[in-house]
């Protein structure tokens, strides 16, 4: 229970990070008509942040020891 308790807490932390990254006001920082590697900044940011979250989720889930 102790270890999976840590897993739950880590996942909850990712949830909170996600809520912040993918919302106003952070989002507004990226809503600029710029292009990164041919992709609009906002689009690149949202998908990037999304992918980052998924990566973190996978990391926490797959490295849990139980």
């Amino acid at each position: 229970m102790k270890r999976s308790g840590m897993t739950g807490q880590r996942l909850a932390a990712i949830f909170m990070v996600g809520c912040i990254l993918l919302n106003y006001p952070i989002l507004s920082l990226f809503t600029r008509p710029r292009v990164i590697a041919g992709i609009p900044l906002l689009y690149a940011y949202v998908f990037g942040a999304w992918a980052l979250l998924i990566g973190l989720l996978a990391l926490v889930i797959e490295r849990r020891r139980d």
């Binding site: 999976s4 292009v35 689009y43 998908f47 999304w50 989720l57």
Partner: protein, 931 residues
Amino acid sequence: MLQGWVIVLVAFAYLGVLFAVAYYGDRRAAAGRSIIANPYIYALSLAVYCSTWTFYGSVGRAASSGIGFLPIYLGPTLMVALWWYVMRKIIRISKAYRITSIADFIASRYGKSQLLGGLVTVIAVLGVVPYISLQLKAISSSFTILLHYPRIVMPAGAVALPFMKDSALYIAMTLAAFAILFGTRHLDATERHEGLVAAIALESVVKLLAFLAVGAFVTFGIYRGFGEIFSRAQEAPKLRALMTVSETGGSYSTWASLTFLSMLSIMCLPRQFQISVVENVDEDHLGKAIWLFPLYLLLINVFVLPITLGGLMLSPAGGVDADTFVLTLPMAQQKEALALLAFVGGLSAGTGMVILETIALSTMVCNDLVMPVLLRQTWLRLNERQDVSGLLPSIRRLAIAAILMLGYAHFRAAGEAYALVATGLISFAAVAQFAPAIFGGIYWTGGTRNGAITGLSAGFAVWAYTLLLPSFAKSGWLPLGLLTEGPLGIALLKPQELFGLTGLDEISHCLFWSMLANIGIYVGVSLVGARRVAETSQATLFVDVFRHTHGFDRSRIWRGSASVQDLLPLTGRFLGPDRARDAFLAYAHRQGLRSLDELRADADLVHFAETQLAGAIGSASARVMVASVVQEEPPGLDEVMDILDEASQVRAYSRQVEQKSRELESATTELRAANALLKELDRMKDDFMSTVTHELRTPLTSIRAFSEMLLHDPRMHLAERKRFLAIVVKETERLTRLINQMLDLAKIESGNAEWHPTELDLNEVIRESVDATSQLFREKGVALELALSDSVPRVMADRDRLMQVLINLLSNAVKFSRPGEGRVEIRLGTARSGGQDSLRVDVRDNGPGISPADHQTIFERFKQVGDTLTSKPEGTGLGLPISRRIVEHFGGRLWVESELGSGAAFSFILPIGLPSEASEKLAREAAHTTT
């Protein structure tokens, strides 16, 4: 050229493959070698979330709001991170108590409430119908568009088509047939459909591949990668706007509220509950799904914007609906096979959603709506039928067909007013209303049934008013003025600007008000109201599921008696006798017993039977059915306290403990009061007995004293002897009178007195009473005046009893009159009292009068009031109490009016037209008299 039959053939071939997979899955499951028992299949099946809304609608949404299509997928991504806590708990609860649907879950949590289960079902069906309708719309228009290949023709409005030529109707019927085939082929106690899950997982693969193929084709086939699409789009100002969030119009709040809404929907949609909870094979699969499912969502959205931009750049302005770009772009490029693949992808997105949703809803309709009603219909004699297991699949089949027809009806009626995504969001907002009851239910023991019912109803009502009503208005069913001016012109009640709230899009607006009402009332009512013990125990079982499922001793909260002979047939009636026998046998084996005969009908067996039944007919109905054959007592305070003790989270329960101790305290206070009352009654009885003995002993004392004196004194003079004997006789008479009157009063008070009511002329009765007392008047020299009235109506009363009253009043009057000066008047007349015509008799004397303080006392037993004339009034002290009771028996009233020094007037009234109840009573007595 794509022939119509080719498309139909491909569609049916695809459905055939699906069915084959499902069939194979079921076979493997039956053989105990599940093909879905791995986390990848579980994660893929969760992607049933992506319906045609995703497949076609995302592009449509992106064409109008750019990146605004994404919150619907970001919400679930975030929510899934919390699944480790939330979903694991829901799954654990559902497996422990055999929950079969979201309605069952909520009903079970709040004391297995049938009402709540029904309410959730109704909201789910009403809320989800538009969602199903949008799938029909999407599949139907994709079919129609593909039929015109290579031309790109937008389908005409559905309403324009006659029913028989409307492909959506056939699609709805086909989907109903498949849902029935998939979902209700057999009835499983756990309501799990392994084959169906396998098919859903396959559909998820197909739609993802199809979408990726179209996306890759647009991005890399038509253009040369993302870079080119975006750089081309940057050149068009209209398209450039799609790549940023517009700074005005509350775009961020829309973003946030859609994210929040979809977080709730991934938990609350009936099909998501079905696939993630009910169909879950192993709790551990949750782990991988937590990152695989968001990954799926990300992949299926990667190409949305390129397809959108490509579609907008390649299509003539306004000619093609952006909702169809996924299909029309390959068509426009003459890619026949790709277009067909896109069609199949859309088909798989639509069928997956529709089949699973209707199956989930049909389970709810059957278990939480139809069965509770049917079981209550005694004329159906369902309770007596030996096997109703065949009935359940039939009800579910009918429900599936009915729900799809509702969806179709909505599709015909709603027309083109809404884009795919907008329709879907209406459904999201409806099912989101379940969230407070669910989350509150698993984390807060304080949530009550009444709180859930009222909160849910309020939230749903607000939803209907702020979202459903406007959608009707926009579809032309209701006047548009309702939206622009408000109902009856009241601007504050405008459905989309409730109480003047502006600046929010319609979904956020609805979400704010409905959640405010829902959560506020749920919490408020829960905090204020009391709850039943059954609710408390369910609440504890749900909230503390991780504690209780391990070695929880159920018998501790269950008291009752049952028998295997009752439980087995009951289970058999719903599961089928053979299945039930097998299940019980398996249970017996698990208990280490060899046969059914050794089974003991203890709390665990009752629980086992109930969960078996719950799987088939829902927990609320199961509870009712089990209760019908089991004698049980509700768990008592002690048992519940035991559960509470077991929980170590003292704080969570302190409120409850406090309440219990408050109850205990008030019970103690009540007991104390009751005890005091008993003591008082005891004292009063004691006083009464003491008075009675005093009254009896007084004449006895004289009798004994004189008798002894007469006996022991032989020399007593004869005159003395006579005087003493006369006293003895008089005292004996007094004793006899006393005893008779006491018995009389006792009989009247206990209702054992005999009454002989007849129709009486009160004039006669008064005259007779006067005659009977005339001797008294003469002896004391008291004058008597009669003021009678010959024309009074007759009354129903007992002649002798009434004379008893009159004689008592007359002799009292004489008793308290001055000899020689006394004057008594008796008067008869009519009166109106309490809205009733009555006869009134007054007996007035000119004696010393009675002080108002004693006006009540004189009607109490043995309470004679002393006066200035004689040191002790004669009589027993029972005459007036008896008289009053006699008058009251005939529906009348006896009272006194007097002041000290100005005489007394005793009056009584007797109603002429008796109230029906009293007259019936008297009629019965009269009838009794004649027999």
